[in-house]
């Protein structure tokens, strides 16, 4: 296992109490800043996808101070507590949703040398286990609110997250199995040599596992198109209906922190962790510049994590929400078999493939994956340059003031009426 340096080595502090306090403060500050940045970013992304500008006034540059300002406002708000709520549980729920997100960051590596608090040889299982606790807070929120909207939201959350945990867990085992370790540090350290060594491109099964994992992780952190627990068009605000002020904000802090954790986890498991596509950082490591490599790696890691968070936002603002039966159908009948096949397939691949065949497959998958990625970047760029010709032209034109909305084809209109 590679030697790691903790961000906050609290053994060195005079007493453990001081170390603990400093650690908690630094850590909480990091999570808050991360979440506030993501909330501002999400508002900007959604605005630009709808041909708006988003927050512009607070702060000098593009409304950067909007999130801190909102935070201050929420701190000052009255802490409403419904009369019929189960009050201790209602209060507890916000913390129960927040703590797992906080705890999962503990073992998340940023590069070969930096781990937030402590490197663990089963960090992958630990993160998965801790994240699976977040749902308890959400369900408790829905239950304790004693409101039917909140309860419906909580039931949907339970049924969705419990189901999607299985394909997510299975598809996350495929890279672990290929590398032969449950430690994120080791899994990451295996992908340095270049783009073709990224685990996603190692074999066809891992290529599929990447997509299964990404979509299942969207569902398990209840991002659109899987945001049924909130579902503001049907359930007021789902499990959040009765919450206000800082408690409400804590659920959002948890959500955005989990988004980053999921992004970082996807990057480590499938997308080359903290290595760049050309093997430069690995070269630095081999040349003995391990500190420079660690710092550059942390930068690469953050870029990759943020890119995946951006894709999550992009999906949220372009895709319509699924129905609950569609959500369950996709999980049980598509992802569950697919993830089983990817797991067995990558095990068999380990055993059978090798040599030239392995190299050819890696090259083919790399070319395929890169081409696909570039295609999506091109689509995005076109949508940004020419609104109305993007990924979902109708949605964007309808928000774009200048040209008249494209006429709806008669067949589509009839279908829309039939669906009600």
């Amino acid at each position: 296992m590679p030697e790691t340096v903790d961000f906050i080595p609290f053994v060195n502090w005079p007493t453990w109490l001081e170390g603990l306090i400093v650690m908690a403060v630094v850590y909480f500050a990091f999570v808050s800043v991360l979440a506030m940045f993501f909330i501002w970013w999400e508002r900007k992304v959604s605005a630009h996808m709808q041909s708006r500008l988003g927050p512009m006034r607070t702060g000098l540059w593009h409304g950067w101070a909007q999130s801190p300002a909102d935070g201050l406002k929420l701190l000052g708000k009255e802490d409403l507590l419904p009369d019929d709520a189960d009050k201790p549980l209602f209060r507890l729920a916000a913390y129960l949703a927040f703590v797992p997100a906080f705890a999962a960051l503990v073992v998340l590596p940023f590069s070969a040398k930096f781990v937030f608090v402590h490197e663990m040889h089963v960090s992958l299982v630990f993160i998965f286990g801790v994240l699976s606790l977040e749902i308890v807070g959400v369900m408790l929120a829905g239950w304790a609110s004693n409101s039917k909207w909140a309860l419906y939201g909580a039931i949907r959350e339970a049924c969705q997250v419990v189901s999607y945990e299985i394909p997510m867990g299975l598809s996350l085992l495929a890279p672990a199995l290929t590398v032969g370790s449950l430690s994120l540090a080791v899994i990451g350290a295996n992908q340095g040599a270049g783009l073709h060594e990224w685990l996603m491109f190692r074999n066809p099964f891992l290529f599929v596992a990447f997509f299964v994992f990404f979509i299942a992780s969207l569902a398990s952190c209840k991002r659109a198109p899987f945001d049924l627990p909130e579902c503001e068009s049907e359930l007021v605000a789902g499990f959040l209906t009765e919450y206000s002020g800082m408690r409400w904000a804590m659920f959002f802090f948890a959500e955005y922190t989990v988004m980053y954790i999921i992004g970082a986890l996807t990057a480590i498991l499938f997308l080359g962790a903290w290595y760049d596509p050309f093997g430069i950082i690995l070269g630095m490591e081999q040349a003995g510049q391990s500190w420079a490599a660690a710092v550059a790696g942390a930068g690469v890691m953050v870029v990759k994590g943020f890119t995946i968070v951006f894709v999550q936002m992009w999906l949220r603002w372009t895709l319509p929400r699924l129905r609950i039966d569609q959500v369950m159908y996709v999980c049980v009948k598509v992802f569950l078999p697919a993830s089983c096949i990817t797991l067995i397939g990558s095990a068999a691949w380990q055993w059978l493939a090798g040599g030239l065949f392995q190299q050819i497959t890696q090259i083919v998958l790399t070319v395929l994956g890169t081409a696909g990625g570039l295609y999506f970047v091109a689509l995005l760029a076109r949508a940004l340059v020419k609104p109305g010709q993007g990924i979902l032209p109708t949605i964007i034109t309808s928000w774009h003031a200048e040209p008249a909305p494209a006429p709806v084809a008669p067949a589509a209109a009839e279908e829309g009426q039939a669906n009600g």
Binding site: L92, H121, V122, G129, L133, V136, G142, A154, V162, L182
Partner: protein
Amino acid sequence: MDNLDTIVFYFLAALALVGAMGILVSRNIVRTAMWLLATLVAAAGLYFLLGAAFVGAIQLIVYAGGTLVLIIFGVMLTAKNPNVSYTPRTAEIVLGVVLCVLLAGALIFVLHGTAWPNNVKSVEEVKRMSQAQRDLVGPNNPDATESTGRRFLGDYLVPFEVLSLVLLAVLIGAAYLGRPKVPVIGAPRGVNPPPGQEGPRK
């Protein structure tokens, strides 16, 4: 660091005990589940403290993230009144106390009768132990996960597979019980009950 370990141990042990007492005392089933969560998380914390990180993480996934969620989910779906409470009968209390005393007696008996590998102090003794004992001793032993896996798929393969068969049977049973009792329009072939065997319409 011994100091910190001791404090964390007593904190977690207290949390587990308080949680267990809370399960007994509270009458509302969702609150009971929350006390259970405290106990389960404290147990996971104890595993982490002892260096058995894999067991701790699995404890979180299976018990806290799985079983507990299913309990709350079941309550949500079945309870008519959110403030369901439960009052035990006298016979149930007596039975419970008897079972608890028996269980506690058995545990204490086992606790005293076992030669714990952690009592082994010197390096020489550790060197003389078998691999299985070493896994139990070593804190943060990275090989513990691997040897657990090897043991499951090697020495204990038959019990492991039998257990998975039991789980499969449970799964099939649940799917059978969950079948629609009244015909569902548009259901795939074989899902609907055959004509003449439909249950009463609700």
